[in-house]
Amino acid sequence: MGWETWIVTTLSRSLAYGTPLLLGTLGEIYAERSGVLNLGVEGMMIMGAYSGFTTAYITGNPWLGILVAAVVGGAFSLIHAFTSVTLKANQVVSGLSLTMLGLGLSGMFGRGWEGKPLPATIPKITVPGLSKIPFLGPIFFEGQNLIVYMAILLVPLLWYILYRTRIGITIRSVGENPATADSLGINVDRVRYMCVLIGGVLAGMAGGYLSVAYRPAWTEGMTAGMGWIVIALTIFAFWNPAYGMLGAYLFAALYHLSFRLQPWVSPELLKAMPYAFAILVLIFVSRGTLKKRIGAPAALSLPYTRGEE
């Protein structure tokens, strides 16, 4: 088998598996840019997966499933926004609770839904004409579904908003220095609520993608730690949507290759590879000079109360 097929299948799988990671990462980037650390990604994702699956199953409409997944993910994230922004509670504790709550609730309500095949899933499409382009065709335009493209389109959009618009400046200033932003008349709490909500919507959508498109079935705990990879990818991305895309697809490609390369490389080593990669990146971005230049938003995980510094 030629190296061309290797490249094509690896990248094509990288897009399919990387999409939920990318959606989650984009959302978490926005939340953290506004200064709210949300460790509840796993919980929001699994709630999205559960509600998306049940909706798609009952209505027979997978798109409605994705929509409901996004709404439920968003609604679920508001719990975190309420505790961490309004009540100014510890964000780490609140986020962790959100994850546990999501896993528990979805597991409990999901009981009767296990083992049911979904009648209709998000269709895979092959773009006529474009799929004939060598390399790019089979990677991008054959057998992917619309959510994959949607996630890709979100990247420039969210990047543009964050770096080239007034809204983006507002979000970033709230995450860097909420006191100054407040003195300039910005409603810090409202900005943070919005950003956490965006994070929840995208995480919910990622969950919906998993249960309605990627592997159309509901099983308890089916996100299997993806939410935690999202947290690591957010740091890898230097809180930048463009690098977030790079990280998500790179991680996904490594994950796929960990099965492809098994005959030649020790499977245990391969299994550890994506995670070792995440740790290496964390070490890299934690280095002094780099941290100053592209470090975390200065007010990340710090609750803001007017008049307190």
Binding site: M1, T5, W6, T9, R13, Y17, G107, G110, R111, E114, G115, P117, K124, Y214, R215, P216, A217, T219, E220, G221, M222, A224, M226, Y255, H256, S258, F259, R260, Q262, P263, S266, P267, E268, K271
Partner: protein, 392 residues
């Protein structure tokens, strides 16, 4: 050091603790045959996994419906290593007379508990350690994997069949080996490409492993993982697959050819009835090992119960002929039926691990005229000829 009040408190606590520990020992009475029996099940996965734990739980419910004198309780998603705590809970709090632990990794913990509660009855699934009050049992699939292999060999066009394994342990290696024996019997040139996912349950890993094997050219799929993911992935691509552990036909009705279905209730009904009758007690289980196969009806081949083979594939399997040294020219369909009949026969006139069998390095592992013993089967660590891929 202590104030008077604290001393009183301390003594009270100690006295209460002592009373309770005695009470619990006194409570641990031996089961009297013929009285209502309470049985606790410990599962390694969620009962909704549609795989291993699901199959055990189905059997539990059948037992409860069958025996009016039986009461059951269960604990699911128990991490291997923490079984001791749950056994304590089932015996001390729930008052179970019998505890069944259903994962290989529960073996040592179950043995420790069996020694701790010598009057209670224990049963451990898939292990090899026993005690006067602890038996072992297994409903094994290797014969069915062999039958699935016969079909897979007939259906492959690329001569590459796929097997995605959970962990490289003897149980899975035995099933792969049996599958490979079957594949090679119908298509001697065909290979079994192996990938490991190192999880009993992981839909994403199963999906990507299956996609990797599809990219490598595999076109028929068998697996050991506790979700219907691989059946779904293969079905999406229009490739045949074999369901594992529970009926997975509904997940891909056109492409699930057959599969392995467990009937743990066969073992459980037999064992619990004997406990109730007083034939099995907490003192005579040291040599009791249920190693149940097709002939005991503990396992069934099928896409779903009652559907031995998906009708969509029948014609293709009837057309494909192989030359068997004993049976002569025979269609794969008839061969599967013949082998099924032979293995379901109480005298088990045929077994997939009848010699001669070579490992993949060309060494003769089972000489002609011999058959692998149960011990050899449960400890197998070599790769049957035809298996390609990592092995550790």
């Amino acid at each position: 050091m202590f104030t008077q009040r604290n001393k009183v408190l301390l003594v009270t606590v100690l006295v209460v603790a002592v009373i309770f520990s005695f009470a619990s020992v006194m409570m641990a009475k031996e089961y009297v045959p013929g009285t209502p029996l309470k049985v606790g099940f410990i599962y390694v996965g969620p009962i909704g996994d549609l795989g291993w734990s699901y199959a055990h739980d189905e059997a539990r419910r059948i037992c409860e419906d069958t025996f009016p004198w039986l009461e059951t309780v269960y604990v699911e998603s128990v991490a291997e290593g923490s079984e001791g705590l749950y056994i304590d809970k089932l015996i001390m709090e729930e008052g179970c007379d019998v505890v069944l632990t259903t994962s290989f990794g529960f073996m040592d913990g179950t043995l420790i508990s069996a020694q701790k509660y010598p009057d209670k009855i224990f049963a451990h699934c898939s292990g090899f350690k026993r005690n006067p009050n602890m038996m072992t049992y297994m409903a094994d699939f290797y014969q069915i994997y062999y039958l699935n292999g016969l079909i897979a060999g007939a259906l492959t066009k690329t001569n590459k069949t796929a097997y995605i394994g959970a962990f490289p342990i003897p149980e899975v290696k035995r099933h792969m080996g049996a599958f490979a024996v079957g594949v090679r019997e119908t298509t001697p040139k065909a290979e079994v490409l192996v990938r490991w996912i190192y999880e009993w349950f992981s839909p994403t890993a199963a999906k990507e492993a299956a996609e990797a094997l599809i990219a490598d050219g595999c076109d028929v799929f068998a697996f050991t993982e506790d979700s219907p993911t691989i059946v779904q992935v293969a079905g999406e691509k229009g490739l045949p697959s074999f369901g594992h552990y529970s009926p997975m036909y509904d997940f891909s009705p056109e492409y699930v050819v057959s599969g392995q279905i467990a009937h743990w209730e066969a073992v459980y009904l037999d064992f619990l009835a004997k406990v109730y009758a007083g034939a099995y007690t907490a003192h005579n289980l040291a040599d009791v090992d249920y190693w149940w196969l097709l002939k005991e009806k503990a396992v069934e081949m099928g896409a779903k119960p009652g559907m031995l083979m998906n009708p969509a594939y029948e014609d293709e399997l009837k057309e494909k002929k192989v030359n068997d040294p004993v049976l002569g020219m025979i269609s794969v369909y008839d061969l599967v039926m013949k082998r099924l009949e032979q293995m379901s026969d109480p005298s088990m006139v045929f077994d997939p691990f009848n010699g001669p069998i070579f490992d993949r390095d060309g060494n003769l592992k089972v000489p002609e005229g011999l058959r692998m013993s149960v011990f050899e089967l449960t400890t197998i660590d070599w790769a049957v000829d035809g298996i390609v891929g990592p092995w550790e």
